[in-house]
């Protein structure tokens, strides 16, 4: 339920002043949903490997089409973020005294994720230009 029922769901979600932990929660959830929907699609495309060679290769545009590459980059970012932020949640849940460093941990997650994503997307762009 939204924090303030008089406001809409989206505006109350966005205006809640929970700081970096709140933004982490929003992104963890959105990223998780996005990855879950990709997983369903991915199971279907790999299922086609068992149907026939051409049935699978008809779907390869998902991975080959340069115009769809930004969607793949969003997925790469989402997977890295959900994985690293998930590890932060595990650390805080199993070692509760680490909650004291929640902000530092959340910032660390962002730094690692941005470095990894920029590096891997950069490798992709250089590869596409070559």
């Amino acid at each position: 339920m939204s924090a303030n029922p008089k406001k809409g769901f989206v505006s109350s979600t966005l205006s809640y002043k929970g700081g970096i932990g709140h933004w982490s929660w929003i992104l963890h959830r959105l990223g998780g949903l996005g990855i879950a929907f990709f997983l369903i699609l991915h199971i279907l495309d790999i299922f086609m490997v068992g149907v026939s060679k051409s049935a699978f290769e008809d779907l390869l545009f998902i991975y080959h089409e340069p115009l769809l590459r930004p969607v793949i980059w969003a997925l790469v970012f989402g997977v890295f973020y959900h994985a690293l932020n998930g590890l932060r949640i595990i650390i805080q849940d199993f070692w509760p005294h680490m909650f004291r460093y929640q902000k530092q941990l959340a910032t660390t997650v962002w730094v690692i994720v941005i470095v990894l994503t920029v590096f891997l997307v950069g490798v992709d762009i250089v590869g596409m230009m070559a």
Binding site: M1, L39, I43, K53, F56, V79, L84, L87, D93
Partner: protein, 128 residues
């Protein structure tokens, strides 16, 4: 000694939600390693543009076939259950009507079953 207040909900007696909480952390830790490896391997070691039928077929039927089929099956089961359980959390947060929530959860369970059946079928039965 712990103090129980009158309005504190009594423990329900079911350990399902505790197990669910633990599963998300245990599978999450494993998935963080396995999915990142899978993603980096397919995207950068093999290369997105090189992925085709022969690459997947070779991976499952070649000398490392048993390893890759086990790896892919482990990912399939861990990730499908982790993902669908996560969507179940979201429905608990936003769908307040009991009937709709039950319906959506039944759909989530059905999708989970189909994911594991379809994915498992191709991993187990593929023979080139």
């Amino acid at each position: 000694m712990t103090t129980r207040y009158a309005r504190t909900p009594k423990p329900s007696g079911s350990t399902f939600e505790l197990l669910s909480w633990f599963y998300m952390r245990a599978s999450g830790a494993l998935l963080a390693l396995m999915v990142v490896f899978h993603l980096v391997w397919m995207h950068y070691v093999i290369g997105l543009n090189n992925i085709n039928f022969d690459v997947i077929a070779g991976r499952w039927t070649g000398p490392g076939g048993i390893f890759w089929r086990s790896y892919d099956l482990t990912l399939l089961i861990l990730a499908s259950l982790h993902g669908m359980n996560g969507i179940r959390f979201v429905t608990d947060d936003y769908i307040h009507n009991r009937g709709w929530r039950a319906l959506v959860k039944a759909l989530i369970a059905l999708v989970l079953l189909l994911m594991v059946v379809f994915g498992g079928l191709v991993i187990f039965t593929f023979n080139g």
